[in-house]
Amino acid sequence: HKYLFIFTEEINFTAILTSPSISPLRHSPWGKKMAARIHGGAGAGAATALSTFNPKKLVAPSRTNLPAARSSKRCIVAAAGSDASKSLRVGHSQKLIANAAVATKAETSATTGTGHELLLFEALQEGLEEEMDRDPHVCVMGEDVGHYGGSYKVTKGLADKFGDLRVLDTPICENAFTGMGIGAAMTGLRPVIEGMNMGFLLLAFNQISNNCGMLHYTSGGQFTIPVVIRGPGGVGRQLGAEHSQRLESYFQSIPGIQMVACSTPYNAKGLMKAAIRSENPVILFEHVLLYNLKEKIPDEEYICNLEEAEMVRPGEHITILTYSRMRYHVMQAAKTLVNKGYDPEVIDIRSLKPFDLYTIGNSVKKTHRVLIVEECMRTGGIGASLTAAINENFHDYLDAPVMCLSSQDVPTPYAGTLEEWTVVQPAQIVTAVEQLCQ
């Protein structure tokens, strides 16, 4: 199981830069975000503001009576202080035009200096470290998390700081150490259990399903299991079938757990902190290829809402729902789509269980077309459940059938070309959007 990954591959954002030839209307909030990511400008403000996109101001209340208390669980956003970020919250198309003019300026105007730039795994580490500082009950257990520093460096330096009792190197026995984490959680500790690769957690499926998910229920509420089970999954760079598994589809029907998938350094840190603070068992899905993403995140403490989806790019024509690595494929496809004249609305659903049907519903009501892009298998994946949920709840608002692009139902092959064909590529997303928008 032991391997050290050094990823030199970064998602290439330079191709998505705002260019003068593209209409500012199409590009403003999103382009600003992309530009900010590269220039490290006031991107923090843009990125965070986008995630607090308030759908309530945009459309009528949704059909399903979701509790109003959700509004109290907004993201804690670091005050970037720029006008642009505040006006982005409204998201009205006319205001977007105004922002466009500001967008190109914001990157050049000096950064407010309220953020710091780091890679995704560093963001996870920061979140973990802050929570361990804050609460002495938080401990980390996993293979090679201690002295080795974590196979993806997420727990680097923590063992030196917190000691061997709080950052525990376990032997290779997923079943046992997951069970131990759950047993410890029954008494009040808050373990963060790391699977070196999500695929290895299949060995701990019994513990996760029966004990982690069900104990709160079968004990009549006597025990809470505030564990966080995290690890990288997804298709990497030719890692082979067994190390490229997407476990979100297997875990999604376990009652009693919550699942979230992070995709940017900002939401990685926020979700990690929220997951640790949550009283429910949370499974945090990271992706092997996203660990080296760089972004500027706020200095101030913030957490992300576990059940909320993130509006990546508001649009009018079609809703594209995605999560984790596919977000970047979608954004790449979005650039092409924008060139062709489409205006996709991209939502990173983030919360895989439960789905944020509030944000998704509002988007569907606006655009009337849905495309789901995911990395799970076709059969029984997250997209399959999401398709069912959208069809059941928002059927009357749809002008076209919900389309779902997912990975092929095959074990991930080793050969690079075959592996490329297994997952959804931007070209396929463009084709699908064109097809849906006819």
């Binding site: 079943n175 150490f177 984490g181 047993g183 019994n206 029966n210 229920y217 079968t218 009549g220 006597q222």
Partner: protein, 407 residues
């Protein structure tokens, strides 16, 4: 492998000769009752005296028995038996009678802060930890009054305030949980131990050895107790296990073998194990010794269940009735205690009979009370899914009729 066909006879103290069945091939005889002056078999002794062996002399009977009634437990199990047959208890019901000495003796040797976690045969352990009879019967019958609000059932009794962590249906899954409890005790620097109970069937699970390794490695105050009732459902221990001496499987972890039908032996063993575990690490409660003292310890309790594995198992397809009644005559734990009480003049026959009557009445009252307690409300279906509302909605079968936000 052709088993040897021998017949074995034992003679009990009151002169009854029992012939054990030929089915019982590998067991040359059931282990004789432990007497106070006889040494226990050691493991890894290496010719050296046992490191502070458990005290076997000067066991006073008065006040050594737990405040609760050991007579209560078999009475409860028999009541559960009849309730199951009258279909008030459904599903699985695993009965503990025959093994009461274990629950009682363990309670006598430890405190309420020490954690116990066990498998699905948990009724008596729950009662031993201070659980109410009414709660137990209500849970068995699926009523609101039950210890898990009726949502757990026979296999999911829990009592958090008494550090009783259940109650688990999957064989062996509680072993890592129990080591986690011990880890939490070590983390919080409490001077308590965790007793992790499992059966002879679970002794062949991989998770046992995984958890044992971690417990010994991290020096956790875990005591792994194998309740060896000689049958893993229908399979006698010598059939699935190459080495039925489960206490020797610890290797680097000391193991202690105890006669689980002798309540005082169990009590002493648990006391000893607790002291050892706090100082030296894990121990298998099936007595033994190692050179480098570890905290973890493994204990094997040699015990026996009279009923089948569960209510759906008659218990007679893999053993004969003679064997069961033989054990009952020779090694019954309650009988043994009764004889000790009578022979040492601590109680008279009449007093014991009165206690029995009281117990019977108590159990009948509890059953009646439980029968009358209400069934859970439909809204209870959705409570205790998540600790804090996370907005998850749940629907009825047609997605329209019942809609609730999971709490």
């Amino acid at each position: 492998l052709t088993p040897k066909k021998e017949t074995f006879q034992t003679k009990s103290e009151n002169g009854v000769i029992t012939t054990l069945s030929p089915i019982h091939h590998r067991f040359t005889s059931l282990p004789p009752p432990l007497r106070f002056d006889r040494p226990n078999p050691d493991h890894n002794r290496n010719g050296r005296p046992f490191h502070r062996p458990p005290m076997r002399r000067s066991l006073t009977l008065r006040g050594d028995l737990i405040p609760g009634d050991p007579l209560l437990l078999p009475r409860m199990e028999i009541a559960a038996n009849s309730l199951y047959k009258s279909k008030l208890i459904r599903g699985f019901c695993h009965l503990y009678d025959g093994q009461e000495a274990l629950a009682v003796g363990m309670e006598a040797g430890i405190t309420k802060e020490d954690a116990i976690i066990t498998s699905y045969r948990d009724h008596c352990t729950f009662l031993g930890r201070g659980g109410e009879l009414v709660d137990a019967f209500s849970e068995l019958m699926g009523r609101m009054r039950g210890c898990s609000n009726g949502k757990g059932g026979s296999m999911h009794f829990y009592k958090k305030d008494a550090s009783f962590y259940g109650g688990h249906g999957i064989v062996g899954a509680q072993i890592p949980l129990g080591c986690g409890l011990a880890f939490a005790q070590k983390y919080s620097k409490e001077e308590n131990v965790s007793f992790v109970l499992y059966g002879d069937g679970a002794a062949n699970q991989g998770q046992l050895f995984e958890a044992l390794n971690i417990a010994a490695l991290w020096d956790l105050p875990a005591i792994l107790v194998c309740e060896n009732n000689h049958y893993g459902m229908g399979t006698a221990t010598w059939r699935p296990a190459k080495s039925p001496a489960y206490f020797k499987r610890g290797d680097y972890v000391p193991g202690l073998k105890v006669d689980g039908m002798d309540v005082l032996a169990v009590k002493q063993a648990c006391k000893f194990a607790k002291e050892h575990a706090l100082k030296n690490g894990p121990i298998f409660l099936l007595i033994g010794k190692t050179q480098t003292p570890n905290k973890t310890i493994v204990i094997i309790m040699d015990t026996y269940r009279y009923h089948g594995h569960s209510m759906s198992d008659p218990g007679s397809t893999y053993r004969t009735r003679d064997e069961v009644s033989g054990v009952r005559q020779v090694r019954d734990p309650i009988e043994r205690v009764r004889k000790l009480l009578l022979s040492h003049d601590i109680a008279t026959e009449k007093e014991l009979k009165d206690i029995e009557k009281e117990v019977r009445k108590e159990v009948d009252d509890a059953v009646a009370q439980a029968k009358e307690s209400p069934v859970p409300e439909p809204s209870e279906l959705f409570t205790n899914m998540y600790v804090k509302d996370c907005g998850v909605e749940s629907f009825g079968a047609d997605r329209k009729e019942l809609k609730v936000t999971l709490a």
